[in-house]
Each structure stands twice: as C-alpha cells, then as structure tokens.
Amino acid sequence: MSVAIEAEARDPRRRTGAGRRPTSLVIAVLLIALAAIATVALAVGAAGIPPSRLPAALGFFGKTTADAMAARDQLVLWSIRIPRIAATAMVGGLLAAAGAIMQGLFRNPLADPALVGVSSGGAFAAASAIVFTDSRFGETLRFLQTELLPLAAFAGSLATTALLYGISSRAGRTSIAIFLLAGVAITAIANAGIGLLVFIADDRQLRDITFWLLGSMSGATWTKAAMLAPILIVGLAACTFIARGLDLLVLGEADAFHGGVDVERLKRISIVMVSALTGVAVSISGVIGFVGIVVPHLLRLVIGPAHRLLLPASVLLGAILMVGADTLARTIVAPAEMPIGILTAAVGAPVFLAILLRQRGLASL
C-alpha cells in the first residue's frame, strides 16, 4: 500500500490544520480583548470613573478609604456596573455559542436563535409566565417568579427549536429555505402570542413584557449574573463534547453517521443546548438578535469552521461584542439608555445580508 510513505517528508508546519492559527493564541488574544473592553466598560457611564480612580474603586489598595468620591465609585462599580458587565458578557457568550451550535446543527451560517423565532418562543413563554403568575390562577406560584422565568424561557425555546427542526428536516436533509421560512412563521406566531399578552396585561406587566421585546441589560443584577454562570460553564463543557460531531455533521446526517457520529443523540443534545443557552440568555436580557450570526461568522473567517475552537472562541467574542454594545447603549444617549437590541441589529443585519449575498454566488437556496 502506498499509505504512509510520503508522509514524513513534508514540512511539519503544513500539517493538517496547522495552516490555521494556533488555539492557545486565539483564546489568549480574545481574553486580552475581553479584559480591555471590560475595563473601558467599568470606566465609562452615566457616572464616569476616570482610569486613575479605577484601581482604588475596585478596592485594589485596601477597602478602607475615607474619600467620599472613592466610596461613590465603589458603590457604582460593585452594585451596578460589575454585575451588569458580568451578566452582559455571559449573555453575549451564550447567544454567540447558541448561534454557532445552531449553525452547525442546520449546516447553515444564517441560522440564529433570534432570527428563526427561538428567542421569540422563549420570550413568549417568559411573558406568559409573568402574566400567569400575576393572575388569580397562578398566584400560588408568584413567589417563584424569578426562578420560573428562565425555566419558562428555556421551555419555550426548546419547543420552538424542536418544532423548527421537525419542520425543516426530512429524511436526513435540512432544507434551508423551509428552515428560514418556518422561522419567519414561528416568529410571527410567537409575536402574535406576545401581542395577545400585551393586550390583556396590566400596566406593570406591560412594562416587564416590553422589556423582553426590546432587549436590554439594564435589569442585570448579581442574582441574574449568578444564574447565568452555571449554564455558561455547563454549556462550555458540553461544547467540547459535541464539537467533533458538529464538524462531521457538515457532511450531512448520513455521512456523519458513516463517520461514526451518533447523529440522533448529537441532534438531541444540540437542540437542548441551543434552547438552554438561548432561553436563559433571553430570560435575562430579552430578545437580542444577530449576536449569534455575527460572532461565529467573523470567527470562521479568521480561525476556520472547526467547532472545537469555534465554540469557545464564540463565547469569548460574543462576550466582547456584547459588553462593547452595552457600553455604547448606555453612553451614546446618556443619561438615557438605548435598547441594546437596536445596536446589535444595526451591526448584525448588514453582516447577515453580506453572508446572504456571498451564498447567492455559491449556491441557490
């Protein structure tokens, strides 16, 4: 057999995959960028904290300081800004990872939980939970409202994702056109449901529901950040588990199976993960679109599409972009605040169109 004869003679740097940038370098660069943007986010805002005062405010020089200014800085940082930055970063990471997994699952770079109604499904379920627990029938559960919201959002996202997969997959093939159109229809149904809830909601509920629709990080607290952290950690761990399967899935379901992937199990895990990551993010931030499209797309251009690196890198870049967008959202019209969903859509929609135009050249839908 001619196998393995010529192999060793070649330049080792041209080894498989070595044309890509090394994993550790990519992760290091992203971590540094995240630290940098977080520092900027700490300093700017309605109550500005100049860089010179940051270390003292963070408590780096001992906590005891009589300086009134430093005390105010500390309060702003520790009870408002840091939990918000932490929650924003994690929401960005979750949304970007959910987008990357969904794109792998559907073998389509245009898949995004917000675009195809998974976020809307989650938001509808969360809004239902608000109205229900405030109603006469659900008042026994009212004390659980905070815990119920992410669960409801997860359930709504799960139902939507499963429905979407059921509609657009047939005999092992996923139709991109049907997938996107089904997403449009599901979004419409979820929005109709939300509209109905808005109609029957009272003033306070209305404010809560409107929050889901616009998307905002202004409600972020330590409690919410603490809710996100375990999901993110479990999600990252699960990513390493499904990465190889998602790689092989680009060959199609049949060929992934021929290559040794338990396709049914991979699909189940991926659907649950997309739903969990999206659902929890939505329950904290509301519907924020396009992060899941933009982040994996940019990364694929630089580091390639292999999921083992793409998924963790998406978490980091998603965090970076969201913290950046949120910082903009709370500064450009300060002291008021712009809904972050507007910013992500303003950046994301053109990227979506760019992918679409490129795909049009490659293949017809």
């Binding site: 057999m1 196998v3 080894r15 498989t16 389509n108 790689d247 092989l248 199609g252 049949a254 390639g304």
Partner: protein, 267 residues
C-alpha cells in the same frame, strides 16, 4: 476467506413502494463487487442497508459475524467506510481538515501521516490548505474519497479487514481519476478489504470488479463472475438496449452499446 458482510433476504419498503425485494448478498474479505443496474433498481437502497444507515423492512445484515444493528455508530465506523454520491459542505473547511475527519478522535498529529498519504493517493497534495467549497466537483469527490480511505485505514489498524462501500464514486471524475480511484480501491481489496461499489459505467464496472451484482426493479437479477454476467441477453433484459459484447486481449469482456432502434427493429 470469511464473509465480511452477509445480507439475507433484504427487503425495503417505503409506503406502498417496494424499493428492494428479497436480496441476499455475501461478500468475503478481499473481494471486489460492482453493483450495476438501471436507475431506480434499488442500488443505493441496497448500499445504505449494507452500511447500517437504513434499516431493512425484512431480512438481516451481518457485518463481521455480528448483526449490524448491534454496533454503535462509532464501532460501525471502525469496520466499514462509505463514500456517498453527493456531499455538500457549506462551511469553509480545508481539504486537510475534511480528510482528517476520517480519523475519528485522533489528533492532526496522530493521523497526520495517514492524511498525507491519502491526499497523495488521490493526487491532492497541493490542495490541502484550500477550502473545500472552492474546489471543483471532482476535486471535492476525491477529497471525500481520501477521507474515507483514512477512516478505513484507522479502522483496519484496530479491527482487521473492513468493508468499503462506494456509491457511484466516479460520477464526477475525469477518466484518469476514475482509473486512479478504481485502482486505489483494488489496492485495498488486495490488502483484505471487502469492496462494494455502485458503478454506472458498465465497462468500468467490468474492469473494476471480478464479480458483478445486477439489480433490476428491486430484485437480484444476476450475481456472478463478470464473464458470466455480462452477456448480450442480460444487457438487453436489464438495460433494455442492444449491445455487442466483445472480449479484450486479456479475456475481460467489454460492452459496446448499439442504438435502441436496433432492439425495436430486431436488426
């Protein structure tokens, strides 16, 4: 040699249509079998049943003396490799990354030699860092063949002679690469692999395989050595064309199709 794969009385129905009807087939280690037959004869269905991807409505497939359903996907992948007809990759994976996918959990370092050798064998050494979607159909096909060769080599290193299934592997290849692919598959058979391929080009099938399996309308129409199967009568019955069967200098038959009019007018 022992049977690598043994299919018994396979039937597959989809709704009211019978795709495959009572087909039995045993292929031994080192054997090369070409499946031929007109469109819709059930060739791809048979191959998918043999790969374990599809479950038969009736009958049983045994791979290496074990019911094929008892293997987990990963175990199956270590014992049989399959090249599909059309594989459409949407993400910008490079040629080398695609081929490495054949190596399962092995890292680029561990499987690097296998990947390099397979790429060399299909003549794509210079393409390893190219993105697959930018390649021509034939080059993509060869990339996937290299991936399948890596999978086969990894599996055979652990479990001995395996099964190589090829579904119209030459459909988008030029003449030279058709021959290259066929020869690569024959080399695997010489090393003990059982090879089954669907081929449309009757002459290529004859050159490729010592044994031909002819399917027609879901049934096994013929199964035997190429010299016995390839006759003017078989070709007329199965493909509904008139053809002259000649013999090459080495005794291997070749087929020269005549026009349909010849059949109709009886000339």
């Amino acid at each position: 040699m022992s049977a690598v794969i043994k299919a018994q009385a396979l039937s597959k129905r989809a709704g009211s249509a019978t795709l495959l009807d009572g087909v039995s087939l045993t292929v031994a280690a080192g054997e090369i079998v070409a499946i031929v037959g007109p469109n819709g004869a059930g060739k791809s269905t048979l191959l998918r049943l043999l790969s374990g991807d599809l479950r038969p409505s009736e009958g049983e497939v045994r791979l290496k003396q074990r019911d094929i359903r008892s293997y987990k996907p990963r175990e199956l992948a270590a014992r049989r490799a399959m090249l599909s007809q059309h594989v459409n990759v949407t993400f910008p994976f490079t040629v080398a990354e695609i081929v490495l996918m054949g190596a399962g959990d092995r890292s680029a370092r561990e499987a690097g030699a296998l990947v390099d050798a397979a790429l060399h064998e299909v003549g794509l050494d210079q393409f390893r860092e190219r993105q697959l979607p930018t390649l021509s159909g034939g080059e993509q096909q060869r990339t996937h063949f290299a991936r399948v060769l890596v999978q086969l080599a990894c599996g055979e290193a652990a479990h001995g002679p395996g099964l190589l299934l090829l579904d119209e592997p030459t459909s988008s290849l030029d003449l030279r690469h058709q021959i290259d692919l066929v020869e690569a598959a024959r080399r695997r058979a010489a090393g003990g692999t059982a090879v089954i391929a669907i081929l449309h080009d009757l002459n290529l099938a004859i050159r490729f395989a010592d044994r031909l399996v002819v399917l027609n309308k879901g049934k096994l129409a013929a199964d035997g050595p190429r010299t016995e199967v390839v006759t003017r009568e078989t070709i007329r019955d199965i493909f509904e064309i008139d053809a002259v069967v000649h013999q090459a200098d080495d005794g291997v038959p070749y087929v020269l199709p005549q026009s349909m009019r010849a059949v109709e007018t009886g000339i």
